[in-house]
Symmetry: C2
Subunit: 359 residues, 2 copies
Amino acid sequence: MHDKRLDSPSPADTAVETPREAGYRMPAEYEPHDRCLMAWPTSTRSDVWREHYAHAEASYAAVARAINGFEPVLMITRPQDAAAARSYCGGEIEIVEMPIDDSWLRDSGPIFLLGGDGNLAAADFEFNSWGGKYLPYDLDATIGERLCRYLGVKRWAAPMVLEGGSITVDGEGTLITTESCLLHPSRNPLLSKADLEQILKEYLGVTKVIWLKAGLGEDEDPDTDGHVDGVAFFAGPGRVLLHMVRNRNHADYDNLAENRRRLETTDACGRELEVVEFDLRSHPVSLGATSITENYINSYMANGALIVPTGGTDGDAVALERLQEIFTDRQVVGVPSPIIAFGGGGIHCITQQIPRAGR
Amino acid sequence: MHDKRLDSPSPADTAVETPREAGYRMPAEYEPHDRCLMAWPTSTRSDVWREHYAHAEASYAAVARAINGFEPVLMITRPQDAAAARSYCGGEIEIVEMPIDDSWLRDSGPIFLLGGDGNLAAADFEFNSWGGKYLPYDLDATIGERLCRYLGVKRWAAPMVLEGGSITVDGEGTLITTESCLLHPSRNPLLSKADLEQILKEYLGVTKVIWLKAGLGEDEDPDTDGHVDGVAFFAGPGRVLLHMVRNRNHADYDNLAENRRRLETTDACGRELEVVEFDLRSHPVSLGATSITENYINSYMANGALIVPTGGTDGDAVALERLQEIFTDRQVVGVPSPIIAFGGGGIHCITQQIPRAGR
């Protein structure tokens, strides 16, 4: 496989071996973490936050503090926003200044890998702002490389556009993604589905790719073209949490039912997948003239915990109770943060786990 | 002294003794607390929060959680907002449902007293929504009585309009207030300055009232007519923290300088007051079309801590450092919450200490 980015300045790009060949794999999010990477919302992204920027700051800080109760958080911030980030995060959270365009680090940042020797490395996919939706994005296109250098981890530049929110893995060879996003012409128009699978296998160390049909529809998630992290994630080995709707008239009914059918399969190890259905809930929150519905699936698995975005509505208690039934071995912690949904994502979108190195 | 509120249903109102006569006094905020009372912002107060209600919820929760690290918080909420309050406060904070109009419990709620026997009681002053500025306020006018009943504390109905934010006491006989608020015709037009002093002495157990000229000007604080908790508070026995401006062209320069002169006096015990000057800082935050300047003075002294409202600006670090120099025996904790300033107050305005009973 040839590296398209011949102009990339990182020496790691010249590696002839792919991560798979070097024995690296992307661990599951439920495996132990060293820490959690986040990025502070950027004060210039007025098309994202509009009149609610300070609200976004308050909620990012609440998320960081919640996660920090379970694993350390490393918060990246633009130098211009560092004083605010320090004030909101209050000394418990490590703050590092780096230029960025936007704060959805799950999508713009590197994806961390572990080698057979327990060494940490990263696959750094190309980032094109979800198909060029928000400009500029040149800083976010290079944040992965700068983060790898800062963290001192070996970096592979993966030769395709991919956002971290568009995949979920079990760390044992299986990756789940959606056709709606990965096959969208705004991402990799010159690569076939087989090409994409091959690159995912080489750079994330997976052996089987399961293609769901779609994420949530345009009304719910216009920005990502249907990231898988809005509808499903690996909850454990052989176990997938999946958004479902019961109402046949719901705009997402057909897609989610089709996703369900596609999970009637085996994982890379040959296990039948257990699908845990999670009802899509609608409890709107008003933020100015905009009505937001929280996506409880877009959660982050911290060490010993599931950090869940909630809406601050009477739907939260039911959703959290259901998640606690499913995740009996984790503390389920809701963080009301409808402003993050307003900005286009959830807690999963603004976090990225750094797996714990070592065998 | 006769009780004007003969129609009040509380049996405590028939007490012939005043708190002073019964040996009660209002302790200083820096004396030990049993817990802190707060009230959840009300979803119907759209004239206060406009498009920022969910932001207010996030910040009230952040304040409650910060205080709860030092003393338990009891959060009052409208039944309609209870699910949201529970979701935001996350199980650590005790939530009690009671009808209220608005959430500035410092001003609408009771003021707690301790007797010579260490018993807890309350002086419940009349509340008229800062001179009728926000309607309706009938529920807030009775929240003091309902809280006293809920808490099981003896209640005195004090025969004057007073907001808790308009006074600060040292617990040893001295009370500081402002003429701009207490003498404003919207509060007690039929009572003279001497009448007001007499009622404060009888119901709060003080022996000396020091009258500052004014709080911050109309631009900064139109709602309260210049509460003292925007410009000064007792930081310790004989020690007053006071807002000052150095710029002679500042709209508040003359008033704050006059306040400074009026504190060149002795407290009720005959001590010369030590005045600790604190520079009024201007680091505006934009919340939609509104520009907010944080008032760092409007802080709450929790057990072992000073909980300070901050703006999430580069002014916060300097202000917090200065406060930590002053309060060497307390942990100074900033909570970025410009939305509370947008709503018309700060952390002091949304809290009320319940002193620790016992000798």
